[in-house]
């Protein structure tokens, strides 16, 4: 660490001679964090199949991917694979920028989407334990910590006393630029407050101008992710953002290549790609945590889908992640190993993983973590998730 840092400074010193504006004058690097909430309960065993488990094919009959050919999983470490729709995630894994955590979950053990998402977002076992989100609490513990929600409503994870802002694509049509300019002149002439608001509003809208074009609602993550990337890479911008993606409640037709599950995964993967491209070099200082409220049943239901379960998978992506591996205390798929006889058991607490990221990436103090961010007893932040 010390060596590489000195090497970097030396290089910067040389660069300063010829290209002053690109060297010391640059703004200090900032750690960035993006939370992507997959609403509906993502099937972790579908996204990251445990193909090396001898019981996998049988336990997942009807849902397991073929070993070869169309629909075969992308290989990770031999034991785990990735759904073929997750091309960008797989590339990141190869570049050691993706870490998959498996058999992970919140402390909530019932099966209501809404309560489970509440629990995930406030960071407590009890779904209505407070109305402050854990990410808001974490930002509140950091100097200048500000969060951004990209979407119509601010997700609970980000709600609370710490400052947040929001941006969403409009369902209304944007007026023509010429009209906006004229209106701006009119406001400037007689209403300074309106003029200031319109200037800021138009700017934000322009930053995300491509969003107005066919962003669709909810199903296509890429435009929203691109907008989030642009807000985050601004040195004065927020340090954390929350994105949401629905469509994971796959009770039917889950295994089909063109079915809802594949579509949702492609949207997620495309969103990750768009985010990386929009962040540019800031991607190197970014951790993206992809989480869901619960996993799904191991076995297939009567409709070719899966039902609300427990353990799922989560992804940590980004240049700051110590990736290229799968982290799992694998519980196994034998009947007796399944939770309530039907679900992948939770062996890793999601809050422990998130706490590890917040501690080592954003420098949230261990005291703030255990008192404000994840105040339930027994928090043990996982170390080593972030590139040293």
């Amino acid at each position: 660490m010390c060596l590489s840092r000195r090497a970097m400074l030396t290089a910067a010193g040389f660069a300063a001679l010829s290209f002053p504006s690109f060297a010391f004058g640059q703004t200090p690097r900032r750690a960035l964090f993006v939370l992507i909430i997959l609403r509906g309960g993502m099937d972790g065993l579908g996204a990251a199949p445990a193909i090396g488990d001898p019981l996998f094919a049988q336990a997942r009959e009807g849902l397991a991917p073929p070993a070869t050919g169309d629909g075969a999983p992308l290989l990770l470490d031999g034991f785990f694979g990735l759904h073929p729709a997750l091309l960008e995630t797989h590339r990141l894994y190869a570049a050691r920028q993706a870490l998959i955590v498996h058999a992970v979950g919140t402390a909530y053990r019932e099966r209501s989407h809404f309560d489970a998402q509440n629990s995930l977002e406030i960071g407590l076992a009890t779904p209505h334990g407070r109305d402050t989100g854990w990410l808001n609490a974490a930002l509140g513990a950091l100097p200048g910590g500000e969060g951004l929600s990209v979407g119509v409503a601010t997700p609970l994870a980000l709600r609370g006393p710490a400052p947040t802002s929001s941006w969403s694509p409009s369902v209304l049509e944007a007026p023509e630029e010429g009209t906006v300019a004229r209106l701006q002149a009119l406001y400037a002439a007689q209403d300074p407050a309106l003029a200031a608001a319109l200037r800021a509003g138009a700017e934000t809208a322009m930053t995300a101008e491509d969003l107005a074009m066919g962003a669709g609602r909810g199903r296509n993550l890429a435009p929203l992710a691109r907008a989030a990337g642009r807000f985050l890479r601004d040195p004065e911008g927020p340090m954390a953002a929350v994105l949401e993606l629905g469509g994971w409640d796959t009770h039917a037709a889950q295994a089909t290549a063109l079915g809802p599950f594949s579509r949702a995964l492609r949207s997620l993967d495309g969103g990750v790609l768009a985010l990386r491209e929009a962040l540019g070099t800031a991607w190197d200082d970014t951790v993206v945590a992809v989480v869901t409220e619960f996993g799904r049943t191991v076995g297939m239901n009567g409709a070719g889908g899966s039902d609300h379960g427990q353990g799922s998978a989560m992804f940590l992506l980004g240049g700051a992640v110590a990736g290229g591996r799968v982290l799992a205390d694998w519980p196994g798929l034998g009947r007796s190993a399944l939770a309530e006889g039907r679900d992948l058991a939770v062996t890793t607490a999601m809050n422990d993983v998130l706490a590890g990221v917040l501690a080592d990436h954003l420098n949230v103090s261990s005291r703030a973590l255990s008192e404000a961010v994840f105040p339930d007893a027994g928090l043990r932040p996982v170390s080593g998730l972030i590139r040293g």
Binding site: G40, R111, S112, H113, S166, W167, S168, S170, V171, L172, E173, A174, P175, E176, G178, T179, V180, R182, L183, A185, L186, Y187, A189, Q190, D191, A193, L194, A197, L198, R199, A200, G201, A202, E203, T204, A205, D249, H251, T297, G299, N301, G302, A303, G305, S306, D307, H308, G341, R342
Partner: protein, 496 residues
Amino acid sequence: MPDLALAAIAAHRFGFGPRPGELSAIAGDPRGWVKAQLRAPASEPPAIAALPAAEDDLLAFRRWLARQRLSARGETEMAGAGEQASASQEGRQAASLEQSYVGAFRDRFVRAVNARIIAAATSDAPVLERLVHFWGNHFTVSSLKPAASVLPPSFERDVARAHAQGRFSTMLIASCRHPGMLIYLDNVLSVGPNSSAGLTGRGAPRAPGGAGGQVRDINENLAREVLELHTMGVEAGYTQADVQALAAILSGWTVDRPRRRDILSDQAGERSGDELFRFDEALHEPGPQRLLGELYPDHGLAQGEAALLALSRRPETARFLAFKLARHFVSDAPPAAVIARMAQAYLDSDGDLTSTVEAMVDSPEAWEAPLVKFRRPEDYLIALLRSLNIQALPESTAWATTALASMGQRPFSAPGPDGWDDTEAGWIGADQVWKRVEFASEMAERFAGADLRASALAEAWLGPLLSAATRRALQQAESPAQALTLLFAAPEMQRR
């Protein structure tokens, strides 16, 4: 001598803005135009009268709940043995629950929103409509709480509209009796611990969500908000002991449980919110209570009525209501003299709301203040509809609901019991203003036609309020649609 400038103030500040031709009609006696509306006998606008009764909304909700439970049970029984199969049913039910709710109540909700908007947009007594909206927001019941989600429209009609020209104490008591408020602020879950239900559990309500058991204790929610939001205001100096006393006094104020056969039948419910009220002695905390130094002996229902009446007569209440009314109509920082006069009129008339509002209309300051009050999205939308003389919205179209949600003010859905923010700061955010400009543009695209000229519309709508800069901008616009957008979004249209 007709006064167009005063007419514009009357129409914009005290109403929702004029319809075409209305300014010159008002100009003969602007102040008289406002005051006549306050004293005229109110008739319920047809669109509002046609909305279902509170009981019908409540029954629809209970029927829907019953259907959900029934289908849940049915599917579980059909599924029989297989663990797998029952898990599948359960998942499918959870997934379809929200969809089913939206499907069942969307039309009801949209119809109520459209009725409220069209009533205001077509009213000959817009000042009264403004007051209905004001009191509806003062006593907020929000659709954001699922159990109360169908009740805000009937609450507004039964409480705010019914009593806007009457005594505040009447409105306050009506509010506390309406199922909308009783459910929204949890008084239906309030049980005196020493009441018979509290002691034995017999007749005690069940905790919501199915998970919990019976409720055997006081819920302070309604009592706290009555003191903090509805009467004295948070700075009035009451204590937690007062909140507890009022909560005990109001325990037993609950909703008549719908009969099983009414739920099973398909008949429309006809009872108003007030007719659904029930005082349940079995839930009422027995004994006298001391509230704000006064002792209220336990005469059951009369104990609560006496306490609410006394609260309505407090000088703190008079000042709080006067301040909120003046802030709503005149300016974010209303002149102290106006507030003082209104509060005095309120106390002198034993809380007569018409006298209180009249004191504002009679205050010269209320007419002299510059037109700086920033219209909230719903006021803004209604003002534009009036300027275009729109007479109807197709009953089932969610256009207005969607537009208002986008601008941050989905009707009947205020974020909390304190209602919508009534100051500029709450509405002049960058995204909010941008969405408003987009809305202005959409309205222009929708209504721009060969026969609609922005300049003429501007003169009819604003009269002397139209600024030289806006007039010039309209003349120089590059298209009729652009001119309309500029007019709809102009500062004079955003403020009143």
